[in-house]
Amino acid sequence: MEDSPSASYIHQVHRLIEECILFNMNQEECMEALSRHANIKPIITSTVWKELEKENKEFFDAYSRIQAEGGSKTVSRQKILDMNENYLTILFPCLTFHE
């Protein structure tokens, strides 16, 4: 069912998008970067991005908050990694206690 070249390609785009996110890029910047550096059509990038958003809504919510607050380019990679680790506790504080 899965077309493996397509699947692996999409996976690669996925990975690239994640890298871009760690550079604190927004969708447009990501499209541009992948197009320039990896020859990936922007439409593909944006499509994968949108699908990632659907699957990872909470993450992207938190990510957009970071982008909104962060004067964009000064947000460090680490901050995004942190956010990735922690947004669950931000968005769903009730999830963090398990006993």
Binding site: M1, D3, S6, E19, N24, L52, K54, S76, L88
Partner: protein
């Protein structure tokens, strides 16, 4: 018990002493001269006053006093009196020591006035009066003072301990957390927390120790979560990788232990897998039980906590520690996740010699990645704009090493969705033949 006998002596203190003397016959099996040496006064009074004084200070802990039942006290008294009587028959000495004993007796027994020994206490008091009168004055204020306290303690706290055990119910804890959050976790001071909570039966000490545990728990929790998140990354990666690599990826086989190129060490928190794989769903409760094996008070009753099987827990209960979790900039959790991407990269790069540029990339972007600092500084590593070189390096790295894990571990997009959308956009298949 031997102890009871001297108290049964009614009026005559000396008779009491004689009685104790007779009791002492048991001790007399030892040579009289050795009796004193054989009796370790420190041990006798260890419970009272740990500084090793033979006779306890009157200012002793009321709870300690309360602990001393009549029988215990009598035991000590009788033993001491025995010792004294045996060792030194001079009246002066006996009087002195007896006096002090009587002080003790009076103090303690009076404080236990509620107990059955009340009458005996009076007897001893009378004995006291006979031997010396100076005693009567001194201990009385202290008696009464200790009497109040001791009686209170013996009522409420049969153990006679100083600290009242606090039962941290979820509701109580919730208020605690509210107070802490209000003050700010790092600035929360027990006295202020107490004020805010406004609960009478809590002492500052209770709050302080609870606060300590709370803070420690938070740190642990965030570290665990970071670890678990990494696990989900692995899992997703492995699933995707097997699809990409295997070619026949009809099903995703998640088997990190058999990862061919990934050399990451087996990580213990495997049970974090399933729960964190789906963002937003929480089934981590079972795994975190192990975090607090010793904190039994904080896991009151199993019924209070979400059932292990139900993925979405009832909201109030798991809100225990982290109900008011702070903002994303919590310093501690960033650390464990730090080395992970790099570590795995290293492992992965064993098969590909193209290490330097990759490491260079990481170094450029994040020199702190290998530093196990508890507080990762918020480095604006990218300055005003991510350099093209670093982006390029990162991208080419991804392209050249498809086995690398996802740095963020986001859930993969739905292939159908992507493909469908692309087809709508006029791209029938990917990778497209033309870039």
């Amino acid at each position: 018990m031997l102890a009871v006998s001297p108290l049964r002596s009614t009026t005559d203190g000396e008779q009491g002493e004689m009685e104790s003397f007779s009791i002492g016959e048991d001790f007399a099996d030892l040579s009289e001269g050795n009796l004193l040496e054989s009796i370790d006064f420190d041990d006798l009074f260890m419970g009272i006053n740990g500084d090793g004084d033979v006779l306890p200070d009157l200012e002793m802990d009321p709870e300690m006093l309360a602990e001393f039942s009549l029988s215990e006290e009598s035991e000590i008294v009788s033993s001491v009196s025995v010792a004294n009587n045996t060792s030194d028959n001079s009246n002066g000495n006996n009087t002195v020591t007896t006096e002090k004993q009587d002080e003790v007796i009076v103090t303690n027994f009076s404080s236990d006035s509620g107990s059955n020994s009340g009458s005996s206490g009076e007897e001893i008091a009378s004995k006291n009066n006979e031997s010396t009168h100076s005693v009567a004055v001194n201990p009385s204020p202290k008696e009464s003072e200790k009497g109040r306290k001791s009686s209170t303690h013996s009522r409420n706290n049969p153990q006679g301990k100083r600290k009242v055990k606090v039962d941290w119910t979820p509701e109580l804890h919730r208020r605690f957390v509210q107070a802490v959050e209000q003050l700010g976790v790092d600035k929360a001071v027990p006295s202020r927390i107490l004020e805010i909570m406004g609960i009478d039966c809590l002492t500052r000490h209770n709050i302080a120790s609870h606060l300590q545990k709370y803070r420690s728990h938070r740190k642990h929790l965030l570290a665990r979560e970071a670890e678990a998140a990494r696990w989900s990354q692995r899992k997703q990666f492995m699933g995707a990788a097997s699809v990409g690599r295997g070619g026949g990826g009809a099903k995703r086989e998640v088997n990190p232990w058999l990862a061919p190129t990934m050399g990451f060490p087996p990580m213990t928190p495997m049970h974090h897998f399933r729960p964190l794989h789906v963002w937003g769903h929480h089934t981590m409760d079972q795994s975190f039980v192990h975090m607090w094996p010793k904190h039994l008070p904080y896991t009151p009753s199993p019924a209070a906590w979400p059932p292990r099987t139900a993925p979405p827990p009832p909201p109030p209960d798991p809100l225990y520690w982290h109900q008011h979790q702070r903002a994303p900039d919590a310093p501690t959790p960033g650390t464990p996740c730090f080395p992970q991407p790099l570590t795995t990269t290293r492992f992965g790069s064993q098969t590909v010699p193209g290490i330097p540029p990759h490491h260079a990339m990481y170094q450029i972007l994040d020199p702190g990645i290998g530093i196990p600092a508890t507080q990762p500084p918020p480095r604006p590593l990218l300055d005003s704009h991510p350099s093209k070189e670093s982006i390029d390096a990162a991208i080419s790295d991804v392209l050249s090493k498809p086995w690398l894990p996802l740095p963020l571990g986001l859930k993969a997009p739905a292939l159908d969705g992507v493909m469908g959308e692309l087809q709508r956009q006029g791209i029938p298949k990917i990778p497209p033949s033309c870039a």
